[in-house]
């Protein structure tokens, strides 16, 4: 398995897109920190980038990579290798590349300008989000045979998590405004990795004080060690559930 991961990683690093992505993240992070002057503000601006850009790039890049590697995957499938190993290797290779890009592109500037708990949370969350979306992308590409369709599904998933979901939540809030929704909101948040990531970072930034009762509830839940544990657990679910399903589907797939 390790050898296959190595091949996947080599392949990814060879086509230079990941390097370009890393440089882009580096430039944006450094630019934001330098422009805003105040490191806290820099982290806030960076949060928006992390929430929009990293999932998008992860999803699109992983899908394209998976389709481009289809011949390689078919070749591997002809060898005496278990199919689950192939998918897991693809996943670990992609995840490692995306994580590396985030750690270098965001981690280094954050370590330089905002080496505190908030900065650390941001980097961890960004890495987690990237991996979760690699996993979601692999599921999408395993499920569809056609490349264009696969990319379309991946993009749609990103659009859903980054934009539509929040609109739906707002709609939900308006429809059920008469009910105490505080606890329901916690569940709703856990159903979207992007929202979860955003709230975890915002709670680190003491914005919770604005939220009054809700903030207190969220802080009590997500701001403490248990809460962080919960958030990490849910993010891990978001990483391993889609890829687990993808492995299962791929095992029976007619290549």
């Amino acid at each position: 398995m390790l050898r296959i991961i190595k091949y996947v990683l080599y392949d990814i690093l060879q086509n230079r897109i990941v390097i370009g992505y890393t440089l882009f993240l580096l430039a944006v992070s450094l630019g934001l920190f330098n422009l805003s002057g105040d490191p806290t503000k820099g982290v806030v601006s960076l949060l928006n980038v992390v929430l929009i850009v990293t999932p998008l790039v992860s999803v699109v890049f992983s899908t394209i990579h998976f389709y481009n590697a289809s011949e390689f995957i078919e070749l591997l499938a002809a060898q005496p290798i278990r199919r689950s190993v192939i998918v897991w290797s693809e996943f670990f290779g992609l995840a490692a590349a995306m994580k590396l890009a985030v750690l270098v592109g965001i981690g280094i500037p954050v370590a330089m300008y905002a080496p505190n708990a908030t900065g650390l949370t941001l980097v961890i969350v960004a890495a987690g989000l990237s991996v979760a979306f690699v996993s979601i992308a692999l599921l999408a590409s395993v499920l569809t045979r056609d490349k264009a369709k696969g990319i379309g599904v991946a993009l749609l998933l990103w659009f859903y998590f980054a934009l539509l979901y929040d609109a739906l939540v707002l709609f939900l809030m308006f429809s059920f405004a008469d009910y105490p929704l505080e606890k329901a909101m916690l569940a709703v948040i856990a159903l979207n990795p992007i929202d979860l990531a955003r709230v975890v970072v915002l709670l680190q930034m003491d914005i919770s004080a604005l939220m009054g009762y809700t903030g207190a509830l969220f802080r009590e839940f997500l701001g403490t060690g248990w809460g962080i544990g919960f958030a990490v657990f849910v993010l891990l679910l978001w990483v391993f559930v889609p890829i687990g399903v993808a492995v299962r589907v791929f095992r029976r797939k007619d290549l």
Binding site: N48, L170, F174, A177, R198, I207, A209, T214
Partner: protein
């Protein structure tokens, strides 16, 4: 002239009789109690450096009691230290420690009851239940005292400087910390509070109740549990104060509740969860204030009317203005808003398009506090943009017709 000479004669006669008493080891008196028993009206008692485990010092005649080198008066957590019931008393230069605490009586470091023209100056109070407590006093001065409490629960803690039913008081240059309220005014009229520093108190830095015609200016209120509260009062002048870092679930920089005809001028509100929270406020002029990086700069409830908000600067607040109704009875005029995106074709420094300071998201959050969960979501940003172009949910009339293009100079 004749009157003046009579005064002079009286004064000199008074002074001739006045005697200085000295208390301390190796002095005429060993204890303060013994000196107080002997002293007559108009005398001065000097107390030398040292620790005096004396309390319940009842002062019932006009005396000046002056500490030299901050003698320590220790109440040993049992009772009150000074109780003044006579007018024209001066207490200066003591370190007063460890008053008792009772649930039936407000025990204080220095308590003044129904006396006029009392001066309490330059004392240090440590771990007293109430610091300085004035009840039914006129023309009293509380100056340059340093009151430090040890943080306890709110219900067991007292106020730093507590005034009840006083008039023409002057509270200046005190430092108050770790008490329930830094300064507490109830039924206090025609008084002045200036250059005080009130920080890290459990509840409010300054608390006004039913206190009219007062002026507080150049004070610092930082890191208090809930900021500053002015309630049920009228004609209060609040000028050039600093309200900062009052941060928490129900914290405010300045809480205005049922207050009218007041003037809030040239204050600085920085890093508060709500800069100014107004409820039932009428005819208040809020001008030339700075609002920086607050959660909400202004929360104006629909119960407020005829308030004028003009020439203020708003920078980097999460929400500029929020309100819970659609009826607008307050006017916004000539403020600088950092969110303003209009243009100024004739270059007169006034934006040509009105600015609506209440964003859609602020309305949503006001209705559904848990909506804050979506803060900084890209969706919210899009929604706010759309609402800016076609207002539907936000109060349409709530707008600044003449927003300033550049920050207004406030100094």
């Amino acid at each position: 002239m004749k009157q003046l000479s009579i005064y002079f004669l009286l004064l000199s006669a008074f002074n001739l009789n006045a005697v200085n008493h000295h208390v301390g080891t190796g002095q005429a008196y060993e204890t303060i109690h013994s000196a107080l028993a002997i002293a007559r009206s108009g005398d001065t008692i000097f107390i030398q450096e040292g620790i005096y485990a004396e309390s319940n010092l009842s002062i019932d005649k006009p005396l000046s009691i002056i500490g030299i080198g901050y003698p320590i008066l220790d109440g040993q957590h049992a009772c009150e230290i000074f109780t003044v019931t006579a007018s024209d008393v001066t207490i200066r230069g003591f370190e007063i420690r460890n008053s008792g605490q009772l649930s039936t009586l407000d025990v204080a470091g220095i308590k003044v009851l129904s006396a006029d023209r009392v001066v309490i100056e330059g004392n240090r109070l440590r771990d007293c239940n109430f610091g300085i407590y004035l009840s039914n006093c006129n023309d009293c001065h509380v100056l340059r005292n340093d009151v430090q409490g040890i943080i306890k629960e709110e219900q067991n803690s007292g106020n730093g400087i507590h005034l009840w039913k006083c008039s023409r008081a002057l509270v200046a240059e005190n430092h108050l910390t770790g008490q329930r309220d830094g300064i507490y005014f109830e039924f206090v009229t025609d008084s002045e509070v200036r250059y005080n520093n009130s920080e890290q108190n459990l509840r409010y830095g300054l608390h006004f109740m039913f206190s009219h015609n007062d002026h507080y200016h150049h004070n610092w209120f930082h890191h208090n549990g809930a900021g500053v509260a002015v309630m049920y009062s009228r004609q209060v002048q609040m000028t050039e104060n600093e309200f900062g870092y009052n941060w928490g679930g129900s914290a405010y920089g300045l809480l205005l509740k049922d207050i009218s005809d007041s003037h809030i001028w040239k204050n600085n509100f920085e890093h508060n969860s709500a800069g100014v929270y107004m409820e039932g406020a009428s005819r208040i002029i809020l001008e030339q204030n700075q609002f920086r990086e607050n959660g909400w700069a202004l929360r104006v409830q629909a119960s407020c009317d005829a308030n004028v908000i003009r020439q203020n600067n708003f920078f980097g607040n999460s929400f500029d203005v929020s309100t819970n109704g659609s009826l607008v009875l307050n006017s916004f005029d000539s403020n600088y808003w950092d969110r303003y995106e209009g243009y100024d074709l004739n270059r007169d420094g006034v934006g040509d398009v009105p600015f609506r300071p209440v964003s859609l998201y602020a309305v949503v959050v006001e209705r559904m506090p848990y909506g804050l969960m979506l803060m900084r979501s890209f969706m919210v940003y899009l929604m706010d943009k759309a609402e800016k172009i076609i207002p539907s949910l936000t109060p349409e009339q709530l707008m600044d017709e003449k927003p300033a293009m550049k920050p207004l100079a406030c100094s």
